[in-house]
């Protein structure tokens, strides 16, 4: 949200659609009340929509009552929303989903309400340092990026892929690298041109970046920004292919949408709700403080393949997916060089998804054009 008047118009349209989506469940007896808080509109075809879909999913359980608030900034506003959900709506479990809600907001409110359980998306919980009633969850979405990369490489005629990213932080770099490794696993000559926009949601710059990449000959685009909407639409308008991110964007590009890396929070949220209903808690140690998973655990998924995806691409992507599902796939397997030629993972070293070194990633893999320095 940059300028209220402009975003008002966008958000009104978005909100109207959101209202239609909202389902209300009313039933008797004791329910588990869960509060969901999003940093942007809940139908952004992106990060917030993915969480909102998870909320809709968990609300299908008859004994769950959910409340939600969208477009809550990372200020005292979110502390207030959390307190209101606890005091006024009786929420016993909260899902404040934006990464920036964690420190200081969740930490502060969690200390004030030790009986309420706070589940944060991002995997930042540290034992001993953070309150015991705080937990975090995150998904290895780069597994789905790897598969997207395979599909993208097959669709590209020019061998030039484009990646529009918000910020050069480890999470984003890991997605770019996994996408590139996936693409080059089937076509080793493919390159990925990266543009960092500098912000999580800056649609004008995202559209400009998309246009300039397409002008340079890129014929498959993907991205890591909060809402991929404008990038998907630009790609479709210019007649090239696109891979989505966060949520399913096939409606935005019926011709050019190949596939995309999506979150699948329904299972995670349903698991948490079930545990809370069974009387388990983070503080007692009966709910794990850190939960992570990838394709195999059902935390992330791939959008259905679009019409432009060839049989060959499907076959290779499905083969790689099968290896993720049986646990035999390791994306970061040495030797891997960065794009300056330096060996970052030597021969013989395998970094599995849980490897702490992957969370400190500050390099771009060979084949990426761009710099991880801001």
């Amino acid at each position: 949200m940059k300028f209220p008047l402009r975003s008002t118009l966008i958000a009104v349209a978005a909100g109207l659609a959101g209202l239609a989506m909202t389902t209300h469940l009313r039933a008797a007896d004791a329910k588990v009340v869960a509060g969901f808080i999003y940093v942007g509109p809940k139908d952004d075809y992106g990060y917030n929509q993915a969480h909102s879909e998870g909320k809709v999913g968990v609300s299908k359980l008859a004994w769950v009552k959910s409340v939600e608030e969208a477009s809550v900034p990372e200020t005292t506003a979110v502390q207030e929303t959390m307190r209101n959900m606890i005091n006024l709506d009786g929420a016993t479990m909260l899902f404040p989903t934006s990464f920036g809600y964690f420190d200081p907001h969740i930490l502060k409110v969690a200390k004030q309400y030790p009986k309420v359980q706070f589940f944060h998306c991002g995997g930042m919980y540290t034992e001993g340092k953070h309150p015991a009633n705080v937990g975090s969850y995150f998904g290895y979405i780069d597994e789905a990026e790897y598969l997207s990369g395979i599909v993208a490489a097959y669709a590209s005629k020019s061998g030039k892929l484009g990646f529009i990213a918000a910020k050069p932080i480890p999470q984003v770099l890991r997605n770019i690298n996994s996408f590139t490794l996936g693409a080059r696993s089937v076509k080793p000559a493919v390159t990925v041109q990266v543009i960092f926009t500098g912000d999580w949601s800056i649609p004008v710059k995202e559209a400009e970046s998309a246009t300039s990449l397409i002008d340079q000959g890129v014929d498959v685009l993907t991205c890591h920004v909060d809402s991929p909407k404008v990038i998907i639409e630009t790609a479709e308008r210019r007649g090239i292919y696109v891979c989505g991110y966060h949520a399913n964007g096939e409606k935005l590009a019926t011709k050019g949408y190949l596939t995309g890396a999506e979150w699948d929070w329904t299972k995670v949220y349903s698991d948490y709700a079930t545990w809370v209903k069974e009387g388990k808690s983070l503080s007692a140690g009966t709910i794990p403080h850190l939960i992570r998973g990838g394709l195999k655990e059902g935390f992330v998924k791939l959008s259905p393949y679009g019409p432009a995806v060839s049989e060959e691409a499907r076959k290779d992507a499905e083969a790689a997916k099968a290896k993720f599902m049986d646990g035999s796939m390791v994306i970061y397997k040495g030797p891997i060089k960065d794009n300056s030629g330096k060996v970052v993972i030597p021969e013989g070293i395998e970094m599995k998804q849980q490897d702490i070194n992957l969370e400190k990633m500050d390099w771009l893999v060979e084949g990426v054009k761009g710099s991880s320095k801001s």
Partner: protein
């Protein structure tokens, strides 16, 4: 000959206000206009918003009752309102002060961000000092950074004739870019991996809550700053000079006022207010500088300054009103299932109606003094 003539005609106008127009006994029809116009405008905005809610399938009266309950209905909710009002009061000065010069400055967000950055830098540099001194140093750093930021806008206007609205708006983007650069580079705490941030301010150096409440001391900063500005602008010769420059800059020049320095100082004070808001955000809320500093308080505060018609005392009340409106945004989503943008629609309606009502001053015969 030409200048002599204009000097002769302009001078009496310039010198007149101190004798008659300024600090004369309160003129009741004009005061009635000053109070009833904004009240009427807010009522009209409420009516329009009610129609919007009805169109969304919510009972407008129930919505108004909820807004009132969520904003002012209990001590708990009133505290939420006050927490939101604090940064608005301070940041609003950035628009209100230069407005006296006839400048429309909307660089509040930028001044708030650089103020927050300056405060963080100083807070980290002198972390070993006693907490009270650290906070004082942070407050001054925030004010100086924010003040200088808006002084640049004033100087561009004064010396080069650059439109202050455009330059201050664009400087917001520069400030945000500067913030992103510093927290990604020179000020970065290497442990802040996925949300680049500065090193944290130590807990003991943070601005605490006012005892017995959940409201931080930033509220007191805001009220005091608005009071000081009110006194400065309404009851000192400095304030009068600023108004005179805003009224007729050529007349002010001819009357011998140092237009440049008064203008730059006014801009500095305005920017200092927003800079202090940034310091409060860092010292009371975030504890470090990062992208969360850029949370649109700057833009909401433009509304506060306009609705209050740049009056220091009115700004305190309007900031609380807007804080209350913003604080009630959640209940509309949770209880009425209205879209999350509903509260922005309300804010936008109030802003538009108030701006429109500005063009109606002096148009209603009932508010005008009868000609003697």
């Amino acid at each position: 000959m030409e200048t002599e003539q204009s000097a002769r005609t302009v001078q009496p106008i310039a010198l007149e206000p101190p004798k008659t127009g300024f600090r004369v006994p309160v003129n009741c029809r004009r005061s009635a206009e000053a109070i009833l116009m904004p009240v009427g405008a807010v009522m009209l905005a409420l009516a329009l918003f009610g129609a919007f809610c009805a169109a969304q399938g919510a009972n407008p009266f129930a919505v108004f009752a909820s807004i009132n309950r969520a904003a002012f209905g209990s001590w708990y909710s009133f505290q939420n309102t006050l927490i939101r009002a604090a940064p608005l009061m301070l940041a609003a000065l950035c628009t209100a002060m230069p407005a006296r010069l006839g400048y429309v400055v909307i660089g509040n967000e930028g001044a708030l961000v650089v103020g927050g950055l300056g405060a963080t830098a100083i807070g980290l540099a002198v972390a070993a000092w006693p907490p009270l001194m650290v906070l004082t140093a942070m407050a001054f750093a925030g004010m100086i950074c924010g003040g200088l930021w808006i002084t640049v806008v004033g100087a561009l206007k004064h010396y080069r004739g650059v439109n202050e609205t455009i330059s201050s708006l664009l400087m917001n983007y520069i400030a945000i870019a500067l913030l992103n650069h510093l927290v990604n580079g020179p000020m970065k705490d290497p442990s802040s991996l996925n949300k680049p941030s500065s090193y944290p301010i130590a807990d003991e150096n943070m601005l605490q809550s006012i005892p017995g409440t959940i409201v931080h001391w930033g509220l007191v900063y805001g009220v005091v700053a608005c009071l000081i500005v009110w006194f400065l602008m309404e009851h000192t010769t400095f304030g009068f000079k600023a108004k005179m420059i805003g009224g007729n800059i050529r007349a002010a020049r001819i009357a011998g006022l140092s237009v440049g320095s008064v203008g730059l100082i006014t801009c500095f004070i305005g920017g200092a207010g927003a800079g202090l808001a940034g310091m409060v955000e860092v010292a009371a809320v975030h504890g470090r500088a990062n992208e969360s500093l850029n949370a649109s308080y700057g833009y909401s505060s433009i509304l506060v300054a306009f609705v209050a018609r740049q009056h220091g005392l009115a700004m305190i009340l309007v900031a609380m009103l807007l804080g209350g409106i913003l604080a009630s945004g959640g209940i509309l989503q949770r209880n009425f299932h209205l879209p999350d943008a509903t509260i922005l629609v309300f804010q936008g309606l109030v802003f538009l109606v108030i701006l429109f009502s500005d063009s109606l001053y002096g148009k209603f015969g009932i508010f005008q003094e009868k000609k003697a």
